[in-house]
């Protein structure tokens, strides 16, 4: 196939986005919805058709020369290689299913054209990130996903907290984008090119200190989009957006963009052990932080948000441990089961009459369609890492890589990962029991769930459960398909003996079981939520928002107040107004001279005459001095 047709993959969603933007409200609703779904579905079909071209060295397609100035030659180019192909397939496939779900979910919404165009635009931007051949196209997509995420999180902007959530997401990820921008510029000055493959090829020529700095900058940029420490405060509030948005952006695509960035720059980043340790450390700390917060959350979507944060931390740990294949494996399985969890959560919220609080739900297994419970459970067991599910294999792969890493520090990270796995199982089953078991504790009437909201769940659930087949490890007899697909891009080889692998498998199974039993013991029969200092601390995300507010927002606001009130109003306006007042008061003084009375004017004459005479006298006296 002609390689420039590769551009149709991102351009189809873009085209449908633009059409929906301009004509969506004027055309019948079905037309707008069909256009939105077709855009993404078409991209998915095209990716399948192009699949073969992604193997081997990949395919590069150039559309036009974008910037050409001096030594800077940047073209609008796409690179469909082994790393990009599975990711593109996942993004377009999951996006198609979520678009179908969204058609059902948003059927009561009047502002649909804006929604569908933003959703399609988001897919376009994400594909730009995935398929980018050079840093400028990647940055375009990076900013684009940030913009669309802002627009979609704050979709129901008439409620102020939704708008604020969107702004918060945008601003926090922007901080990460600054670091990415610095890295971009620095890489250009070092290597003279913005092409990612060229930079990776020249990576070995960069001095070690600079490599560490660049890797840390890239890491911070990734942290912004992937909601890792320290730029993670936006993800929980981002649940203010519609559920399809949460499923697409905050489960499958945008939050994984950071992981993808690090995987793309793996040849550069892996040169420095310090950077790799930093990546793993951030991933580990975020994973356990988010898992503890998820244990205390009361809203169903916030639990899933913190869970996403935690799982993306696992992906970061995998990249830091050196296994790109492991990170991407977990990325793919996570996309499937987290998307299904979010979508099922949307159905659950519908059932509970738009109630988000899980302590006001319960017994929904009987109140709604029975399949809802099963798909939710499918996603939940994947998340918890029940043996033989997709989530189990991917998580196990990561823990194996951490355990068998030559650097002993990684044992600590492995331990953190193990504890997090236990916590993950616990909060997952807590969620399941509180939502589905027992009696219904709320007061609402269930809404009917449209077919379009139920059917897309099944493919994703099956993919999540069966996802292990993507990269079945060798010790259970699998072919490690994904690993072999990546080939040289797969990162460092994991060197572990069979005994270690089986031991870890057993440990993982024990953790899952342990978490399940703990949750079952505590939540099977309903108990009201704890309200002590610990739970409040965890509920607020370790008071991260308060910390950010104290460290950054307040000083900034104080500076802004100083500039506006102190400098601008007091100093500048005061000076100008003061000058005006001075002029006015002078003129008021002068006005006193115009009395309108003849006598005062005559007096003025006389005084002037006196001055004149006095001057003559003075001249006389001085003149008489020398002559």
């Amino acid at each position: 196939m002609n390689e420039s047709l590769l551009f149709l993959i991102p351009l189809l969603p873009l085209l449908c986005a633009v059409l929906n933007m301009f004509f969506g409200m004027r055309l019948p609703r079905l037309f707008a919805e069909t256009m939105a779904v077709t855009g993404v579905a078409g991209a998915f079909v095209l990716t399948l058709l192009f699949w073969g071209q992604g193997g081997g060295e990949g395919t590069r397609a150039v559309l036009f020369s974008w910037l050409s100035s001096g030594s800077l030659e940047v073209s609008f180019a796409l690179n469909f290689d082994r790393l990009a192909a599975p990711m593109t397939l996942m993004v377009t496939g999951v996006a198609t299913l979520i678009h179908l779900y969204a058609v059902g979910y948003m059927h009561g919404e009047d502002d649909y054209a804006r929604f569908y165009s933003l959703l399609n635009l988001f897919v376009f931007a994400m594909l730009m990130i995935v398929l980018a051949d050079n840093l400028l196209v990647l940055f375009l997509g990076w900013e684009g996903v940030g913009l669309c995420s802002y627009g979609l999180i704050g979709f129901w902007y008439r409620k102020l907290e939704n708008a604020k959530a969107g702004t918060k997401a945008f601003l926090v990820t922007r901080v990460g984008d600054v670091f990415l921008g610095i890295a971009l510029l620095w890489l250009f000055t070092l290597t003279g090119t913005l092409s990612i493959s060229a930079i990776n090829a020249q990576a070995a020529t960069i001095s070690p200190g600079v490599v560490i700095a660049l890797s840390l900058l890239l890491l911070l940029g990734a942290c912004g989009k992937s909601a890792q420490l320290p730029l993670m405060t936006w993800l929980a509030d981002a649940m203010a957006g519609p559920t399809p948005v949460s499923a697409l952006i905050h489960a499958a695509t945008m939050v994984t963009a950071g992981v993808y960035l690090l995987c793309r720059f793996f040849p550069l980043v892996s040169l420095s052990a310090v950077a790799m340790t930093a990546i793993t450390a951030i991933g580990a700390l975020t994973a356990i932080y988010a898992a503890t917060c998820a244990m205390a959350q009361r809203e169903i979507k916030r639990v899933l948000a913190y869970s996403t944060m935690s799982q993306v931390g696992y992906m970061f740990m995998a990249v830091g441990a050196g296994t790109v294949a492991g990170a991407m494996f977990h990325l793919l399985t996570h996309a499937f089961f987290k998307a299904v969890l979010f979508m099922a959560a949307g159905c659950v919220i519908h059932l509970a009459d738009n109630e988000n609080d899980i302590f006001k739900m319960g017994g929904l297994a009987r109140r709604g369609p029975p399949e809802l419970f099963w798909v939710f459970l499918a996603g939940a067991v994947c998340l918890a890492g029940l043996p033989l599910t997709g989530g189990f294999f991917s998580k196990d792969g990561i823990l194996l890589a951490l355990f068998s890493h030559p650097d002993p520090v990684y044992r600590v990270f492995w331990l953190i990962g193990v504890v997090t796995a236990l916590l993950t199982a616990f909060y997952t089953f807590r969620l399941v029991y509180l939502v589905f078991a027992g009696e219904y504790r709320g007061a609402g009437h269930p809404h009917a769930i449209p077919l379009l909201m139920r059917w897309p769940l099944w493919p994703l659930a099956l993919l999540g459960l069966g996802g292990g087949l993507l990269n079945l490890p060798a010790f259970v007899g699998g072919g490690e398909a994904l690993h072999h697909w990546y080939g040289t891009l797969a990162g460092l080889e994991v060197d572990a003996s069979q005994e270690v692998e089986w031991m870890l498998v057993g440990l993982a199974a024990a953790l899952t079981g342990g978490g399940w039993f703990a949750a079952r013991w505590r939540y099977r029969s309903y108990r009201p939520p704890l309200d002590n200092a610990v739970s409040r601390f965890l509920l607020s995300g370790w008071r991260a928002d308060a910390l950010v507010d104290c460290l950054f927002v307040r000083p900034f606001a104080a500076m802004a107040r100083f500039c506006s009130t102190g400098c601008d109003r007091t100093l500048f306006d005061g000076t100008i107004n003061g000058l005006g007042r001075l002029a006015t008061s002078w003129s008021n003084l002068l006005v006193l001279l115009t009395t309108g009375r003849l006598t005062s004017y005559l007096s003025a004459f006389a005084w002037g005459f006196l001055v004149l005479l006095g001057w003559f006298l003075l001249k006389l006296v001085n003149g008489g001095g020398h002559g």
Partner: protein
């Protein structure tokens, strides 16, 4: 002899003027001024200007001051009770001003180098004056006559009776 008369006349002139400017009754002021003008006319004569002296009496004292009296009496300005003024706080700065003006003027005038020169005997006959007036200054005479015409018309216009309510 003439010198002494000149100084006496000067003194009378200044005294009469001083009396004039301090009278409350305008008629008294005018009368004192007329007396002063008589002294002034004699001073003119002593300075060799007999025609100017005559004119001073005829025109100034006889016409202009009489006109003043006409108006004072027509409007009934005397004896008018002027309401008490602001008192000496108002006069003081002006009096000081006048005093200092006087001192300055006298100083300046008297120290001029030409001031010491003597005015010698001088007498200008009316004929010589007429020759100068209608000879070299004929144009000025014509212009001044225009001026008198304007003044007449102006005075006539201004003095018209007011229509009911508003001015002209």
């Amino acid at each position: 002899m003439a010198t002494m008369i000149f100084y006496i006349l000067g003194f009378i002139l200044l005294a009469a003027t001083l009396m004039c400017i301090t009278r409350r009754n305008p008629v008294h002021a005018v009368v004192y001024l007329v007396a002063g003008f008589f002294a002034l006319a004699l001073m003119f004569y002593l300075l060799g200007a007999p025609l100017v002296a005559a004119w001073e009496v005829i025109v100034y004292a006889g016409a202009i001051m009489v006109l003043f009296l006409f108006i004072i009496m027509m409007l009934g300005l005397a004896p008018q009770e002027v309401p008490p003024g602001p008192g000496w706080q108002r006069w003081l700065p002006l009096a000081l001003l006048s005093a200092s003006l006087m001192i300055c003027t006298l100083l300046l005038v008297l120290q001029d180098p030409a001031a010491g020169q003597e005015i010698g005997d001088f007498y200008l006959a009316p004929q010589a004056l007429g020759e100068a007036l209608f000879g070299r200054y004929a144009l000025a005479v014509e212009i001044v006559s225009f001026q008198l015409l304007f003044a007449t018309i102006g005075a006539f216009l201004l003095g018209r009776p007011l229509p009911k309510g508003e001015g002209p």
